[in-house]
Amino acid sequence: MEVTEKSGFYVYSDVELDKNEGIQIEALKTASQNSIPDPDRWLDEETQRNILLTSLDAILNWARRSSLWPVVCFPACCAFELIATAASRFDISRFGMEVIRASPRQADVMITAGTLTWKMAPNVRRIYEQMAEPKWVIAMGACAISGGTFAQSYSVVPGYNRIIPVDVYIPGCPPRPEALLHGIRMLHNKIAKQSIKQEAGK
C-alpha cells in the first residue's frame, strides 16, 4: 500500500479491499436465501427436568436475565428510540441493561435497531458470532422483522433472521420505548424457561 504526503488530494486505498468486501457480501447473500428458524426450543414445555438442575436453572436464568448487556447495533431510525429508552425517561437500567457495550464479547443480547442492508449484513453476522454464548437477539421494528417498508428494495435484507436467529420480534416503525420494554420483558420470560441441559445439547 502506498500513501503519499498530506499535500496530495485524492489518495485512495487499494480497490482490492472493496473487492474482497464485495465477494463476502455476495457469498453471504447467496447463502442466506432462507430464513433461519427461530431458536424456540424453549417453547416445548416440561422436558425431562431433573429437580436439582431445575434449581440450578432458576439461579442461572435469574442471573442471566437480570443483567442483559446489549451490544451496539444501531443502523437506522430505531436507534433513536433505543437511545430514548436508555435515557432517563424510560430508563432501561431498571432491567440491568444500561451498559450498552461497544464490544460484542461483553454482551448477551443484540437489539437490532434498524434496517439491515446486504452491505451491512456480514458485519452484523460477525458481531453476532463474536458474542459469547448464551446470546439472544431482539428484532426491533418492522425492518428487523421483515424489511418493513423497504422489503422490496434491491439492497435490503428482508428480516434479520436471514442472517442470525431471532428470539423476540417487536413490531412498530419504530416501536415506542414502551413496546421495546415489553419486548425485553418477553425475552426475560423466555430466558427464565431455558435449561442448561438444552444448551449442552445444542
Binding site: 485512495y12 443502523p75 428510540e81 435515557a87 458481531i127 422490496q152
Partner: protein
C-alpha cells in the same frame, strides 16, 4: 529524535459508537496523525429513490420520514413543497403556520441531538446527551400530540397537514417555548467556556469559507465558515417571510464555531416559534385533494433549510400517479465531502470530534 513510523490503515466502523450510525472511515495513520481518510458509505442504502418510483405521491410521505429520521418533519415539508410546486396546490394559511411550527420544533430536536452527540464524541460520555434528550422528549410529546408518533410522523400532507392540532397543543407549546431559552442557556453556560471543550474544539477541523462553498456544504457547516446563506432568508418558502429572525454565522469555521452556530440557531428557532404562535390564524389546515392524484407532466424542485442543511426534493412527473423520478438532495451526504479536508493532519481523537461536528444522519447519507 524522530521516530519514523510505518503508515497503517485503521477501520473506524461501520459499527462504532461514535460514527452516528453505520458509517465507515478508512483512515490511514502515521502514528496518531491522520494522513489520509476515505469515507465508505452505503451501509444503510435502502434504495428509497427506487422504491418511491413505485408508490403514489401520498404514499411516499412515510419514506421521507425515514430519510433523516432525526428531522422527519423537515423532510415531510420539503417533499410536500416539491409536490405542491409540481401540481400547483396551495396550502391554507393555518396549514402553513403549523408546518413552520413543526419544522422549527424539529430543528430544536435535531440540534439537541447534534450538540449532545457532539459532546459525547468530545468525551463527555452520556451526561450531556441525557440532558439534551430530556428536552427532546418534551418536543416529541408535542409531535405525538399532533401526529401520534414519536419519530416518524407522516404528519404533513400534500396540501397542508393531516389534521388540526388538538386544543391543548398551543398552551403546552407555549409553556415549552417559554422554558426553552433557559435550558439553552443552562447548557451553553456549562459548555461554552469549559477549558477542556475549548482546548479540544477551537481551531480544530477548520473549513475555510471558499472551500465550504466549493464543496457545496450547507446548513450550520456552511454558516460556521462565515457564509450567510439560509434558505429561509435566501429563498423564503411557506410563511417564513413573515418572521423576524437572525442567521448566526461563524468566523473561523472550526468545530467550536459549528457548535456555537447550532446553539444560536436553537435560540432563533424559539424566536420563530414565539412569533408563529402569536400569529397563527384559524381556519382549515389542508386543501382537500384526492388520495391518488395525477400532477401534470413536468418537474419541480422544492427545498427547505433542514436542520442539517439544504434539503431538496427533485421530482419528475410523467403524469401518472407515481413520481417518475424522486431525487433527494441530502445535506448530510454533501457535507461529508468536506470531511477529508477537515481531518487530514489531525490526530485520531480529533478526527472523531470533527466528524461529530458535521452532524450527519446516515439515513439521509445513504438513502
Amino acid at each position: 529524535m524522530v521516530l519514523k513510523a510505518e503508515p497503517f490503515v485503521v477501520n473506524l466502523g461501520p459499527v462504532h459508537p461514535s460514527t452516528h450510525g453505520v458509517f465507515r472511515l478508512r483512515a490511514t495513520l502515521d502514528g496518531e496523525v491522520v494522513v489520509n481518510i476515505e469515507p465508505v458509505i452505503g451501509y444503510l442504502h435502502r434504495g428509497i429513490e427506487k422504491l418511491a418510483e413505485g408508490r403514489t405521491y401520498t404514499q411516499n410521505i412515510p419514506f421521507t420520514d425515514r430519510l433523516d429520521y432525526l428531522a422527519s418533519m423537515s423532510n415531510n415539508l420539503a417533499y410536500c413543497l416539491a409536490v405542491e410546486k409540481l401540481a400547483g396546490i396551495t396550502v391554507p394559511e393555518r396549514g402553513d403556520y403549523l408546518r413552520v411550527i413543526m419544522a422549527e420544533l424539529q430543528r430544536l430536536a435535531s440540534h439537541l441531538i447534534a450538540v449532545g452527540a457532539f459532546l459525547n464524541d468530545c468525551g463527555a460520555f452520556m451526561t450531556p446527551i441525557l440532558y439534551m434528550l430530556r428536552e427532546r422528549e418534551k418536543i416529541l410529546d408535542h409531535f405525538e400530540m399532533v401526529s401520534g408518533q414519536r419519530l416518524t410522523y407522516a404528519y404533513m400532507r400534500i396540501g397542508g397537514v393531516s389534521q388540526d392540532i388538538p386544543e391543548e397543543f398551543l398552551p403546552a407549546l407555549g409553556k415549552f417555548v417559554a422554558g426553552m431559552p433557559g435550558y439553552i442557556d443552562e447548557y451553553d453556560g456549562l459548555i461554552k467556556e469549559n477549558e477542556i471543550f475549548l482546548a479540544r474544539t477551537k481551531g480544530v477541523g477548520i473549513l475555510p469559507k471558499d472551500l465550504a462553498i466549493n464543496i457545496s456544504a450547507s446548513g450550520p457547516v456552511l454558516r460556521a465558515s462565515g457564509v450567510k446563506w439560509d434558505i429561509r432568508k435566501a429563498d423564503p418558502y411557506s410563511v417564513y417571510d413573515r418572521f423576524e429572525f437572525d442567521i448566526p454565522t461563524g468566523t473561523a469555521g472550526d468545530c467550536y464555531d459549528r457548535y456555537r452556530v447550532r446553539v444560536e440557531e436553537m435560540r432563533q428557532s424559539v424566536r420563530i416559534l414565539q412569533q408563529a404562535m402569536a400569529q397563527i390564524p384559524k381556519g382549515k389546515v389542508r386543501t382537500e385533494i384526492p388520495l391518488t392524484f395525477r400532477p401534470p407532466v413536468g418537474e419541480a424542485y422544492g427545498h427547505v433549510e433542514a436542520p442539517k442543511g439544504e434539503l431538496g426534493f427533485y421530482l419528475v412527473s410523467d403524469g401518472s400517479i407515481a413520481p417518475y423520478r424522486f431525487h433527494c438532495r441530502a445535506p448530510s451526504l454533501i457535507n461529508l465531502t468536506a470531511l477529508r479536508d477537515m481531518m487530514i493532519g489531525w490526530k485520531v481523537a480529533d478526527a472523531i470530534i470533527i466528524f461529530g461536528s458535521i452532524d450527519i444522519c446516515m439515513g439521509e447519507v445513504d438513502r
